[in-house]
Amino acid sequence: MTTEVPSESSTERYQAVQRSEDFQRLRHKLRSFIFPMTVAFFLWYLLYVVLCAYARDFMSIKVVGNINIALIFGLLQFVSTFLIAWFYSRYANRELDPIADSIKHKMEEGVE
């Protein structure tokens, strides 16, 4: 268990960890994945919404039987959501968790 109220020295300790090379690497790897990915899926979703509003003729083109582009576009949003979730989980397991664990262990050893 850690202390509830951090003292002055623990603040300095957190700042030291924050400045450490390992932590900078973790932050860079995390942010360079989650921010671009968020922008990407948000724009991809927004494209779908805007097409629903302004590209009715395109969305109503029938592809197979009564299945039109609007339905396929909607189902592709499901596919992309599942893929991004899977991809993030793989990335986090391989690239982020080991660094986070090593920083955490070092800090826990330091507490004693």
């Binding site: 039109n68 979730a85 968790d97």
Partner: protein, 558 residues
């Protein structure tokens, strides 16, 4: 007309008795399972976080149970059944929104907070103002969400009792009977949560998620079997039955309507669609009852796993909504749906009845399947009401009472007592407001809650986690700016006054043209958060070092 209705009611009354009896039995079994399950857990002594012992799969199911509300089951099926393709937009928005929660919020929140959303917001700031703001925002979002659940419950029980517009029930006209139903059912749910269900909330949600997935899967299979598992045939029949032809399968019947010769009305309608879309995708990660679910697991890694499970379960369910909605359009028909409920909130149970009649031996089969699906819907609503009531009353007790009023000097017993009183008051407010919202679709109502959550909560959460410079002033501006603007815009929108389906249809004080405020209030929430931060000299970057290290590594997590 009147005699025709009466004759139809007379033949239906014997099977109605069967439906109601079966429904009550199913509800009793559900409550029994829930109470039994909640007594099995010894660790449930932890009032707020259920002992943090849930596995990723269990919590994923519980998140699904917390998230898939009356809006997802009754609301989306109803909008698709009445307006076709446009209802599917809700399914997509509700699902994609989980990526925001997965990538930006779930793990960091788990690592740095303890019980409520405010724990993270107040981490490096002045506790009292930030906790007060977060508590108010939590209660407002929860009330919007609860209104939708109460409306759904009222519509559902009205269907079971045979309360229909134009007919009388126990000497009351239909409107009075519906109001009485909402008050009674709403009060029962709140009492259940306050008295017995608090500790078992997670189990209510797991049991409910299993029931909902099973019920929706069964109906999907029956609908598709009717069309020999050909989706195209189902869509074709739904379009033909709707009387709107191919337009029923395309966007534009409900949202973004082209109004010939009226360019500004067309523009506003399209903006309303985009506004709804943005609110749906950004709302989830700001919903207090969803955020508190991330605290019920031991580590951030389990939080990640539980979101992955939730995305899988919720995604599959939203695929079912296509079959449920278009199935109801084809097999029940828009006319029969609107005759029961103007907003289409009873389309799914009506579809169950129609499927029962077709597949399981006539009227009796229809009554049985209707009773089962109605019980599933009831469990669905109960679980969400439980989650919302728990999250909002926890916030009042933990953030406002214990930390703001008592300045951290309140006994656990006091906190729980305040939580119970808060649950009663919040429930009563939601019931009172829902009486005026009966003519609105529940998915639409939940979308308003999403807009308020995305405006009032999400900017403050994201700034807290990722922006070093963010401070108390910024948090206050972000929360109050987003919250007040979204609520004020809803109040002056056609949802509340000035349209036929408004809460006050005979008054008109609306000046805001959109029915969903998201496109204005969400950017405004982010802007206010930035402005409030830069005009204040407060610098919390020292404490941010701790927040960032803890949120990214899981060091010192409770």
């Amino acid at each position: 007309m009147q005699t025709h209705l009466l004759a139809a009611d007379a033949t239906a009354s014997s099977s109605r008795g069967l439906t109601i009896t079966l429904f009550l039995i199913f509800v009793a079994i559900t409550l029994g399972i829930t109470i039994w399950a909640s007594q099995q857990t010894k660790t449930a002594t932890d009032f707020y976080a259920g002992g943090r012992q849930f596995s990723g799969f269990q919590n994923g199911m519980a998140i699904g149970g917390d998230y898939m509300s009356a809006a997802s089951f009754l609301g989306i099926a109803g909008i698709i059944a009445l307006y076709g393709y446009d209802g599917f937009l809700y399914s997509i928005g509700f699902l994609v929104a989980w990526l925001v929660a997965l990538l930006l919020v779930a793990e960091f929140l788990r690592n740095s907070g303890r019980y409520t959303m405010a724990d993270v917001l107040a981490f490096r700031m002045r506790q009292r103002p930030v906790r007060s703001a977060a508590s108010i925002s939590t209660v407002v979002v929860s009330i919007f969400y609860l209104i939708a659940q109460m409306v759904g419950a009222g519509a559902l029980v009205s269907l079971l009792l045979g309360i229909k517009p134009g007919a009388t029930f126990l000497g009351m006209d239909a409107d009075t009977a519906k109001v009485a139903t909402i008050i009674l059912v709403g009060a029962l749910m709140i009492i259940y949560v306050v008295v017995g269900g608090m500790k078992g909330t997670t189990y209510v949600q797991i049991v409910k998620a299993i029931m909902l997935m099973t019920g929706a899967l069964l109906m999907t299979i029956l609908v598709l079997a009717h069309y020999k598992f050909n989706l195209s045939t189902l869509l074709g029949d739904a379009a033909a039955q709707s009387g709107k032809g191919d337009a029923f399968l395309e966007p534009g019947l409900r949202y973004g309507v082209e109004k010939a010769g009226d360019a500004s009305a067309t523009f506003y309608s399209k903006m309303d669609l985009i506004s709804l879309g943005i609110a749906l995708v950004l709302g989830t990660a700001g919903l207090p009852h969803i955020l508190t679910r991330f605290y019920t697991v031991p580590t951030s890694r389990v939080a990640r796993k539980s979101v992955l499970w939730a995305i899988g379960i919720i995604g599959v369910f939203y695929l079912f909504t296509l079959a449920l909605g278009f199935g109801a359009a084809a097999l029940v028909g828009g006319k029969a749906i609107t005759a029961q409920d103007k907003a289409g909130n009873t389309a799914a149970p009506q579809l169950a009845q129609a499927l029962g009649i077709r597949y399981f031996g006539g009227d009796t089969g229809g009554s049985v399947l209707l009773a089962i699906i109605a019980a599933v819907a009831f469990a669905t609503i109960l679980a969400v009401v439980a989650g919302l009531t728990l999250a909002s009353s926890s916030s009042v007790a933990h953030d406002f009472y214990a930390n703001v009023i008592r300045r951290g000097d309140a006994s656990e017993r006091d906190e729980v007592r305040v939580a119970r009183i808060a649950a009663l008051v919040i429930g009563a407010v939601a019931i009172a407001l829902s009486i005026f919202a009966q003519s609105l679709n529940v998915a639409f109502l939940v979308a308003l809650a999403f807009a308020v959550a995305a405006s009032g909560n999400l900017p403050a959460i994201l700034y807290s986690l990722f922006w070093k410079r963010f401070n108390t002033s910024g948090a206050m501006w972000a929360i109050y700016g987003g919250l007040i603007s979204s609520v004020v815009l809803v109040f002056f929108s056609p949802v509340v006054s000035g349209s036929a389906t408004a809460m006050f249809p005979h008054h008109d004080w609306h000046w805001f043209p959109l029915s969903n405020p998201g496109i204005i209030s969400i950017p405004l929430g982010f802007f206010c958060g930035w402005l409030g931060t830069v005009i204040s000299k407060e610098d919390d970057s020292e404490k941010y070092a701790e927040l960032e290290v803890r949120s990214l590594t899981g060091y010192g997590a409770h």
